[in-house]
Symmetry: C2
Subunit: 417 residues, 2 copies
């Protein structure tokens, strides 16, 4: 009888992974049990430094690039081969949860610990990454860390962006890079062969079906728009309705018409106005300016493009008597993940006897940008009630460990490919 | 031939008044020629200190009360008589103009100079006042300085109010009182016999008719409401429309229905949503909370009350699937100014050969609270295009001086009453 060769998954520790998740959840912890760890904030940087310290304790190499993406590298036996990369992001929504993003990074670190403990050498290096600003809540657009890494966008296009308080990204980035304090590597110096990202589902499907593993097949396309309406400030008591150019009134008419337009019978289109700023914001002054954002998603590229075109038309039609400008902020085509990577994930789950299914992703992820430069895929685990972008977001230690086991074995499969 | 007795108006100086207006307009001056001098800000306090300095140079008594209302007193020959009070406010909207409020205070000071120059003694003392926070843009509700002075509301009800940045009124008030640094007088220790307030019209009527003086007959009633909608934060990419509790979507439905409900054929009702805050305010998170304000005005008390009742019903009807709370913030009945005071203003304008008309006020003013405790009236002068609550607000030196002349002579009439 042969001794079975050790697997990485067998060395994944549910307790160790959970402890690491809880340790990182202290950075930006909120009273309601979530996190507020927005991109490039002090809390975000503190979480990155925790990862740097973690890597230093184990002798792994760490480095960062000029947009602040942080990398932890475990060497392979063939140093010239392109690495298997895994990870996600450490930044959160302003009222975000403990697992969205952080899980993908920390499951990657747990996989490295498991590889060490199991004494497994891989041909390819394995690199765990924490991408900068996936959420896009503090700085637009979302996922620009992975986007710049993949060459989909460039650094210069975001440096002058400001957050709601007026802080310029250039300054916040410089501070983060200095405080993280690990060696810099130029963009383009590391190109992965494979990228695999573990993430909570952020939807209710796995929980409903009682399955622990989602093999992600696609990500719907995303289009972000900024809508700015210019009216005229006027006195709320003296200005008759016929003389007003009320920017909020026009915004209400536009949003109302767009909600109607995007209300498809099968409830596939995702239309969200998440930010709306009204100026000057005084109760007794007719608003002179409104800025709102549109987040539009659809799995079909042609439908998405057509909806964006119609949004422009409707906004212009309904803005009267104000003027309106509609600006593109982010446009990401639907992503179709590679069959070979999906196979590797499916086989790992199968070998571990874990219930799994193929499924699309409703949310965007850094993997969508990585898919443009390498073979990419994603592993989903269930989250409570499908809730995310919410402090109440939750997931079980067991499900999170199951995902980390599939991740660890998939990394080994791909790293020896 | 008799030497005509000197009039106060003959000593009003157009140049001196204009210079004083321009000097005070430097506090909080904006690049676009307006002012940002919100209540209890450093700029507002600096403007108050300018008035204190002005009074000190002339030997007038100054004092303040516990809500920061600032008073300048010129003695009369019969010190036991209740004073004639005149004034307005020095605070402005965040993007306000140079004349709204400041004109009433500074025209009062110009009248005091004119009384001195003309060597006129009055029986009653004359008191010029700068009321705290008429605008209500930084701290709600508006006009609480005069409201507390008149006993319409009390100090304790506002002390814990916060501005958008979280600064507590109690602290900002304490700082202002300390920096203004003039003796305190208890509330109730000064009750005027007459109150007369000069103000720019903030509407287009006088300009259209080519008249310099408006004799104000009434102020429409005002009702302020706060509407808070609670939904549920959710991920913009993963949450289907049928599962959403989108607080902004409900806000849009409510505002849209209220606009329709308040659209009267004769365009008398004034309905304004001036502030709207959306939380968490992230482009890719379905909003979980929206707070917006309603400023509702009508000259008929019964109509106003009925509209407020209907607003509550409509808000509740349209909030689904979110929950909504509607809170009263301010309720001021329509004001009818006293015939005797209107007569005094009319006679002063007549004697000076200035074109005048009786007219209602669309805007609320501190005079509405003073009218509850004494004989009150108002003098309007034209402003360019009727524009106010806007940095472009403008008025001519000639019209402003005309108003100050009518004010000065009216003060003398009433102070010798």
């Amino acid at each position: 009888m042969n001794t079975p060769s050790p697997t990485a998954s067998a060395s994944v520790s549910e307790e160790r992974l959970w402890q690491l998740l809880m340790d990182v959840a202290t950075y930006g912890a909120t009273a309601k049990g979530g996190v507020n760890r927005q991109a490039l904030s002090a809390e975000d940087t503190a979480a990155k430094k925790h990862v740097v310290q973690w890597a230093a304790e184990r002798g792994f190499t760490t480095f960062q690039d000029d947009i602040g993406n942080l990398f932890v590298r475990r060497d392979g036996t063939e140093p010239t081969l392109a690495p298997v990369m895994t990870g996600s992001h450490l930044d959160s929504q302003p009222t975000g949860g403990r697992f969205d993003g952080a899980y993908g990074v920390l499951a990657g670190l747990e996989a490295l610990d498991a590889l060490n403990d199991a004494g497994i050498q891989t041909r390819r290096p394995v690199v765990v990454v924490a991408w900068t600003n996936e959420e896009g809540s503090r700085y637009s657009p979302g996922a620009f860390g992975s986007s710049i890494f993949a060459g989909v966008s460039d650094l210069a296009s975001v440096l002058d962006n400001t957050d709601a308080a007026g802080a310029v990204l250039r300054d916040e980035l410089a501070r983060t890079l200095a405080e993280t304090d690990v060696p810099m590597r130029a963009q383009g110096s590391v190109t992965p062969q494979f990228y695999i990202e573990a993430h909570i589902e952020q939807g209710p499907v796995l929980e409903e079906k009682g399955l622990q593993i989602g093999v992600v097949s696609s990500i719907q396309g995303i289009h972000h728009l900024d809508v700015v309406i210019i009216g005229e400030e006027a006195h709320a008591g003296t200005t008759p309705r016929r003389s007003r150019k009320d920017a909020l009134s026009s915004a209400v008419a536009i949003i109302s018409a767009l909600e109607q337009m995007t209300s498809d019978a099968d409830d596939i289109t995702r239309f969200t106005v998440g930010r709306c700023e009204v100026q000057p914001g005084s109760p007794n002054t007719v608003p002179g300016r409104v800025h709102f954002t549109i987040d539009l998603r659809h799995p079909d590229r042609a439908v998405l493009t057509s909806l964006v075109d119609r949004i422009r038309v409707v906004a212009t039609e309904k803005a009267n008597p104000c003027s309106v400008t509609v600006t593109d902020n982010l446009s990401v085509d639907p992503t179709i993940f590679e069959a070979g990577v999906m196979d590797a994930i499916r086989q790992s789950a199968q070998a571990l006897g874990l219930g799994h299914m193929d499924m699309p992703s409703g949310a965007g992820h850094d993997a969508m940008h990585l898919a443009t430069i390498c073979s990419a895929g994603m592993i989903f685990v269930p989250c409570l009630g499908g809730v995310s972008h919410n402090e109440a977001e939750s997931a079980t230690p067991g499900d999170l460990a199951a995902g980390a086991r599939v991740l660890a074995d998939t990394i080994v499969r791909l790293a020896n490919d």
